[in-house]
């Protein structure tokens, strides 16, 4: 939880507590009025009801006022005039055709009927389609990671030269120098050269190391990060003053906040990258790689670390010797990469003049 969330949560908690226990919502005790009542019997109650008059129905109903109807004639829109339509010209009916001349007709030939069944042509035998036999799932063949030999350059295709040329005499010293050609690797080859130390082939056989638990913040830091106990609310009559007093009281207990706008995430990342590229953990022992150290450093306005200000303010894990090694490596990183000044915005110097760097080698351990 970052500092902002802690402050916000503490402020809210204090306010809610004040609202609940400070008497804001406490209801004032209302005055109680006492009324004297008398008890009567059932007969007396029935007699009392009978003595009352029966309800009367009311027949006088107020009639709504008649609306004033204006007698002025309303202009009624005139209907549209019927558009003139052209009368279609009726076409003259055609006269009936003359009767055809049927004298020259030739008689129809008689149909030849045979009792023999027609011989149907034998159809072509159907070609059956044989379903392909499902082959077994292909088994991947082991392939060489690196092609043992480059593929030979293919012979160029022979093409007749359309123009006959004179034979060229071979020079005495000239040797035909083939142009270098890139060897074509076989299909199954890879461009990656596998070295023994890198052992990618064995990588599959190694057990995967489960991600280590992220270490908690060092004790020193945790102690510093603890939210200070809010002071007792001032006994004032104004709720606004109470809330402001609480909020300001917290701010007053916290370390003095630097003025000006804070560093952006990008500016912080730039500083982080600048330091980590000099943080060489290659020569650290296994124990030192298990050690997290928190280093405080002050920077000059030109971004250069003040060597005398570099100090260890916290650590987690490891032995005293490993803490010392880890701090020395962190110190070296700050001095090396800060020798020419860290690239930080000068207008925000108040924000970065004092820095606490946590060097956590968790990701750099031997895996």
């Amino acid at each position: 939880m970052n500092t902002g969330q802690v402050i916000s949560a503490t402020g809210h908690a204090a306010l809610i507590g004040w609202l609940m226990f400070g008497g804001v919502f406490r209801a004032e005790q209302l005055p109680i009025k006492a009324t004297e009542v008398s008890v009567i019997s059932g007969e007396a109650f029935a007699a009392m009801l009978a003595a009352q008059d029966a309800p009367r129905s009311s027949t006088e109903v107020a009639q709504p006022a008649q609306p004033n109807i204006e007698n002025e004639a309303v202009d009624v829109p005139q209907p549209d005039t019927t558009p003139a339509q052209e009368i279609p010209v009726v076409a003259q009916a055609p006269s009936a055709d003359d009767a055809p001349d049927m004298t020259d007709l030739t008689p129809l030939p008689e149909a030849e009927v045979s009792d023999e069944a027609p011989v149907l042509p034998t159809p072509e035998p159907e070609v059956s389609v044989v379903a392909p036999v499902t082959s077994d799932r292909p088994v991947p063949r082991p392939s060489d990671r690196i092609a043992p030999e480059p593929v030979a350059v293919p012979e160029p295709e022979a093409r007749p030269d359309p123009v006959q040329q004179d034979a060229v005499e071979q020079a005495d010293t000239g040797e035909a120098v083939a142009e270098p050609q890139d060897a074509t690797a076989p299909d199954e080859a890879t461009s990656e050269i596998v070295t023994e130390a890198e052992q990618p082939a064995a990588a599959l056989e190694t057990s995967i190391r489960p991600p280590a638990r992220r270490p908690t913040r060092p004790a020193v830091q945790a102690a510093e990060a603890e939210t200070p106990t809010p002071p007792e609310p001032a006994d004032t009559s104004s709720a606004v003053n109470d809330a402001l007093a609480e909020a300001l009281g917290q701010a007053g207990d916290a370390p003095s906040a630097p003025s000006g706008p804070p560093l952006t995430a990008g500016e912080k990342d730039t500083l982080r990258v600048a330091v980590q590229k000099c943080w060489n953990v290659g020569s650290l022992s296994s124990a030192a790689l298990e050690t997290t150290v928190v280093v405080a450093v002050s920077l000059a306005q030109d971004g250069k670390p003040l060597t005398s200000s570099i100090r260890q303010i916290g650590s987690e894990g490891g032995t005293a010797a490993s803490v010392e090694q880890a701090f020395a490596t962190a110190r070296r990183a700050i001095i090396r990469c800060g020798s020419s000044g860290f690239k930080l915005p000068s207008d925000k110097y108040d924000q970065w003049k004092d820095i606490e760097m946590t060097f956590n080698p968790e990701r750099m351990r031997i895996k």
Partner: protein
């Protein structure tokens, strides 16, 4: 009543606004977390040690050369050549010109001095952290004989290594191994001992009989090994100082091999084959009394004690394939720790106690690997036609093993590799070598 509620709401809004404002503002110093670093050799400079008298003029350069070779050989350091130096060191007590060394990016500087008086050699050094502008630790001085100048250099390198890395060094140590000559079909083997870097080879036995698997004692003064001198494998204890030896008697009709000392230096654990069965035994060296630890019908061999002496790791084929098991030093039901594909053998417990090195045969290749003592985080460091016989450096950071090349003319030679799998490098020996065993740091 209504006035109080409105007042409370206003107070709530103002408080929330103020809280957000305060939260956005930076409290105290700027805080950043660095989680990604770089892994690269640390540049260092080692000028020739300053000769403090005429006789030591040549010795200064030799000492500096060995120190530099030791440090650079770890893969954790990178030597800056002397041609790049801006400053010259002619006085051991002169103030260091940090700016000159910083300009060539030297992060550590070793300045030494040497003096020779007769056969006595005095070497002293100081280590400086250039970017901190301060000495790293205090100056240190060693005295010895002129013949032992390499050991003096190794001790300087150990101190420098320890101060920078935070863990002990391994340079002033020795390795016993089997020196091999001749073709595979007629290979001559004899025991030899050398410095960790291959210098100063001395032979402990002749090549008249086959010798195998020498193992240093925890104090480095004795060596266990197996010899076929009588036709049967027998275990011998050799005193390195005077090259005297004695046999560890085993039961009649049995073959004893694969011996290794317990951390107490008085107990030996070994394999004994009787008939077709091989089991693990321990023997109290002074009394010669043997105790059987396993009694399975399978083959149990290659035992190795944990540094605390409470457990033994060994290989067994009781599951049908060769795997690694751990059992109590007094015997009992073993627990299998290797479950990967392939066969595991020759396990060796790290001096730190956190890792077990082993040989793995998988898919036709041999690997040297390490795993946690519970079998997790297996990591294969090498791969070749034949890698075998790992042994740990005294600080548990480096593994030495032997590698044999393929073919009738194949040669067996020694290699070392960091436990990260980086910095694989050969160990130069006059002849071929196999079965290395690393001694502890010398006193």
């Amino acid at each position: 009543m209504m006035v109080r509620i409105i007042t409370a709401l206003i107070a709530l809004i103002m408080t929330a606004t103020l809280s957000v404002t305060l939260a956005q503002a930076q409290q105290g110093p700027l805080r950043i977390e660095i989680t990604e670093g770089v892994i690269e050799p640390l540049p260092f400079a080692t000028p020739s040690f300053v000769p403090e008298n005429g006789e030591s003029a040549e010795m200064g350069a030799q000492l500096a050369s060995v120190v530099a070779a030791d440090l650079q050989g770890t893969g954790l350091f990178r030597q800056i050549p002397s041609s790049a130096f801006i400053s010259t060191v002619s006085d051991f007590g002169a103030p260091v010109q940090y700016a000159d060394w910083k300009a060539i990016n030297a992060q550590a500087l070793v300045i030494g001095a040497v003096s020779v008086a007769g056969n006595n050699l005095t070497v002293k050094f100081r280590l400086y952290d250039i970017f901190s502008g301060a000495e790293l630790g205090s100056g240190l001085q060693f005295q010895g004989t002129v013949e032992g100048w390499r050991r003096m250099a190794h001790k300087v390198a150990d101190a420098v290594y320890s101060r920078i890395t935070g863990e002990s060094g391994y340079f002033d140590s020795r390795v016993v191994f089997v020196s091999e000559t001749g073709p595979k079909i007629d290979r001559k083997k004899r025991l030899a001992v050398m410095d960790y870097d291959g210098a100063g080879v001395k032979y402990l036995t002749d090549s008249s009989s086959l010798v195998l698997a020498p193992r240093f004692s925890p104090t480095g003064d004795r060596v266990l090994y197996t010899s076929y001198e009588t036709g049967f494998p027998r275990i011998y204890v050799l005193d390195v100082g005077n090259v005297k030896r004695r046999v560890l008697e085993s039961a009649q009709g049995s073959m004893s091999f694969a011996p290794r000392f317990a951390p107490n230096g008085q107990t030996v654990v070994f394999s004994q084959a009787t008939g077709s069965n091989t089991d693990i035994y321990t023997m109290d060296v002074p009394s010669g009394r043997a105790t059987r630890l396993t009694s399975a019908p399978s083959i149990e061999t290659a035992p190795s004690f944990s540094p605390d002496g409470n457990n033994i790791v060994f290989e067994s084929d009781r599951s049908g394939t060769q795997q690694l098991y751990i059992m109590s030093a007094g015997g009992g039901e073993p627990k299998r720790i290797s479950f990967g594909q392939g066969r595991y053998g020759t396990p060796v417990w790290s001096p730190r106690g956190d890792l077990i090195a082993f040989t793995k045969q998988s898919k036709g290749r041999f690997h040297i690997g390490v795993m946690r003592v519970d079998g997790s985080e297996e990591r294969l460091l090498t791969a070749s036609f034949l890698d075998e016989g790992p042994t740990w450096s005294p600080n548990g950071r480096v593994i030495m093993f032997h590698r044999e090349t393929q073919g009738a003319a194949g040669r067996s030679s020694l290699y070392s590799v960091d436990i990260t799998g980086r910095n694989l490098r050969p160990v130069r020996t006059p002849e071929g070598g196999s079965d290395p065993s690393w001694s502890p740091l010398q006193k």
